[in-house]
Symmetry: C2
Subunit: 199 residues, 2 copies
């Protein structure tokens, strides 16, 4: 026996979410079936809400319900330092740390030629425009240390070299709380290479 | 830093779903942020769709977008046998098996005095009305074999005794594919008690 059509449609729509298989989608759809109508209406309105009210900040390309976003509008932050991240989530993680007082630039992805993502698919043109017009002094390359993040960083380093600005990359090494014995060779190599003098 | 308000609202609404923690809710909300608008509109419409188009079948109390539901409307099914289940999911599991040709009655829960669920909270009155008016010959008690399912079954058995109809309970024993050595004592006891003669 099939589920009634509206239930089946909902299961299919939910199972298209990442990490949600058909079993979980069915469980959630049946929960929705039993849930209060007010909650379901609120959930649907919030889904539409993010698509309607959230857009990209025209300066740093982050998701925001204001333009410019809160960070770009904050005069207390250093407008001359741009921290370039692959993703909105990376920016939120760095903001969560709380120690960075410059601004961001969100690329919305990494270079991945095999997936058809080249420089044109990322927000690189907007980054160049900022550097050319806003008197930027330092660009911190804060893409990930996986293969795609590294190659995106290397690509940007080459691209930004002619601009005569300070170019930096996040440090790579052993994470706080980790043990040397459990680290892979590549990380240990980086940690050794980037070793610092102790006073 | 906080997420923009519409994003935060969505995270909160998603995290109220069962089995979805705040981390998963955040991941899904950020996926929605990046997803195609058409998909998000479809998802929202399907959420509202189940609340608008799906209601309880007035005969068996199952969720259905027609009234009576497909099963109650099917003249080829035996209207004199009612299989009483706790939940819509139980009915779908039995239908998936495909061997049952009677009809169902969905209680929408089990008796659970500690959670405040008494006979009035279940669709028992509707079951009695069916038995009194529709010439029912057999009621199969197909609630679960957990404590709540068993006590619900026992309660119904007592309640239905005066009606002079055949009352049966699903068999309890060792599931197909399982090994005797791994079964708990209660299940082995039931399996022994319900043993059948082999020809």
């Amino acid at each position: 026996m099939q589920y009634a059509e509206p239930i089946d449609n909902l299961i299919k729509a939910i199972s298209r979410l990442p990490g949600i298989g058909e079993k979980t989608a069915t469980r959630l759809a049946l929960y929705i079936l039993n849930a209060k109508k007010e909650y379901v209406e609120e959930l649907a309105a919030n889904l539409l809400g993010v698509k309607e009210k959230v857009a990209l900040c025209s300066v740093c390309m982050t998701f925001s319900d204001t333009d410019p976003c809160v960070i770009c509008a904050d005069a207390g932050r250093d407008a001359e330092i741009i921290c370039v991240v692959s993703d909105y989530k990376d920016m939120m993680a760095l903001e969560g740390m709380g120690g960075f007082k410059g601004r961001y630039h969100i690329l919305h992805g990494n270079l991945a030629p095999l997936k058809g993502i080249g420089p044109e698919e990322l927000r690189i043109r907007e980054l160049l425009a900022r550097i050319e017009s806003q008197g930027i002094k330092e660009v911190i390359l804060a893409t990930g240390f996986d293969a795609e993040g590294e190659s995106t960083s290397a690509y940007l380093a080459k691209l930004l070299k002619p601009y005569n600005i300070k170019l930096t990359r996040l440090a790579s090494g052993i994470p706080v709380g980790s043990y040397v014995e459990f680290m892979d060779g590549a990380t240990l190599g980086r940690a050794l290479e980037g070793r610092r003098e102790v006073s």
